[in-house]
Homo-oligomer: 337 residues x 2
Amino acid sequence: MNGLDEFGLIERLVQRVPSSGRTVVTGVGDDAAVLAVDPGEQVLVSTDAMVDGVHFLTRTMGFADVGYKAAASTISDIAAMGGEARHLVVALAVPEAARLADLEALYDGIALACRDHEVSVVGGDVIRTGGPMVVTCTVIGAVPAGQAVLRSGARPGDVVFVTGWVGGSGAGLALLLDGTPVAGDVAAELVACHRRPRAQLLAGAILREAGATSLDDISDGLANELNEISRASGVRLRIQATRVPVAPAVRDFARRRGEDPLRYAWYGGEDYQLVGTAPPFAFARALARCESSGVKLTQIGRVDAGDGVIAEYEDGRLEVVEPRGFNHFAPREANEP
Amino acid sequence: MNGLDEFGLIERLVQRVPSSGRTVVTGVGDDAAVLAVDPGEQVLVSTDAMVDGVHFLTRTMGFADVGYKAAASTISDIAAMGGEARHLVVALAVPEAARLADLEALYDGIALACRDHEVSVVGGDVIRTGGPMVVTCTVIGAVPAGQAVLRSGARPGDVVFVTGWVGGSGAGLALLLDGTPVAGDVAAELVACHRRPRAQLLAGAILREAGATSLDDISDGLANELNEISRASGVRLRIQATRVPVAPAVRDFARRRGEDPLRYAWYGGEDYQLVGTAPPFAFARALARCESSGVKLTQIGRVDAGDGVIAEYEDGRLEVVEPRGFNHFAPREANEP
């Protein structure tokens, strides 16, 4: 570790990330960060860990990508509550063989994600491990009291929606692993989806304000997230498969591989778009605000009484969508998209 | 992992820990926890990671001890700000060979620490790793706005104090590693200090209210923490070595080993007592409140103009106390107490 001790290393890495902000009273350097909360707000907290070789592969992602994605994917949990992301703390378990340049690149990726999402790093820990690198991010956000959008509020009659395009991250990973020949711009788009996902904070805030009844971010694939909303809300979600906004680059990629592009949307995961429900009038309001803000919002189905998730295909075929997503404890073959 | 998938495992483990509380609006199970903050409060956040083989050894600690200590040592950072600890999120990287019973024991230890410190678990992540276990805890606390006690407020003329007894954890580790023959009750006390440290939340709150000017918790040894206060405050700390409250069991243990008991206080670390400074009148006020609350508080020195930490011994000898503590990136021999 180039002669740097644990304390010198933390100080050196923290210098690379944004560490101040309106609500940072005391940031990195004391026993705990001190953070201001505006009157009438509640605090949001979520934590996510990523392990080298399980959640990321250094042959498909650079260290800056790993840092960016670790931060953005954690920040995404705040978007999924309709909240404002504010602060990040980062705990890094570092293998003995890690190079300082790699850790600096990782922190540069975290720094870029923080700037893109207007978040500051207010704490952290850097420790040595005899195993692979583990990056654990915890995000602190805020939401007007009583307005956090849970997964449990979907009601029959609601619209089911998704933000942005989906499937890109899973297709990007498949491309990085297999090297399917596609046009350069298609490849670049898919790889960027996989390496540098954006948390949908603006969309989340618009949807909360418009009156969304449930919200979730797509970390484990649309199939899994829809089932979570269905289960938490005690409703059936009826999805029109043709309406799912599979990215054109994913369609192109899947066509070349002779695959159904929808599988990347259902099971690919890590798109970090938002999926949720809203009464029709609230959805219309959200749609108008999204359009004027440049946010893509698509109705993909309806909420019915009942349970589970049903996909309706163009030919009239109905199919139960199982809650299968990327599950890190499942056998590897179950995770192939 | 006994056929449990990642999601089933999280649910099963979380059932073992306290998960509700006055300020928990929405706990584990959604994308993020929703937490209430009382008017006039600021939020405190700190994160700590522990790695098997580096920060704990399964030959000296059971999994319940590991869980207890991971939680308590993180909660201690809130005590060191004079705050009230409220919530914990736990990210666990689990080796493939881990047994479910071990993870349950780990969570039972976390649960006990949460009960002892009146903290609830509001989130977590459980992931697989190809390496050793990594436990990352993030604690959320609160403090009246503007009243967090930093390390930087010590002023010449202040009293330097420490809570409780020190040296027990380092001596407990040495005992567990070497098996020095000592009386059963001495051994039990030292081992308990090492395996089940308590965060000094009550003492921290009393010291904040009384007007302490700096505060730190003893994670890396008194030598290191005193130097942190000295550096952050730009003052010299003059310590009367005989006043340092080295636990009687540590004196007994060190005598049998022919060692200076003070070394366990200076360099042992992990006592999680509080060290800090206060003007004499504030110290007197704190002392009275501590006595009526059953909290041990000891003056060990004075703040002077200057820099560094100076120990004064009975024979008049003065010695600079270097900021050497347990440093996980330092060569192993530097960490022997």
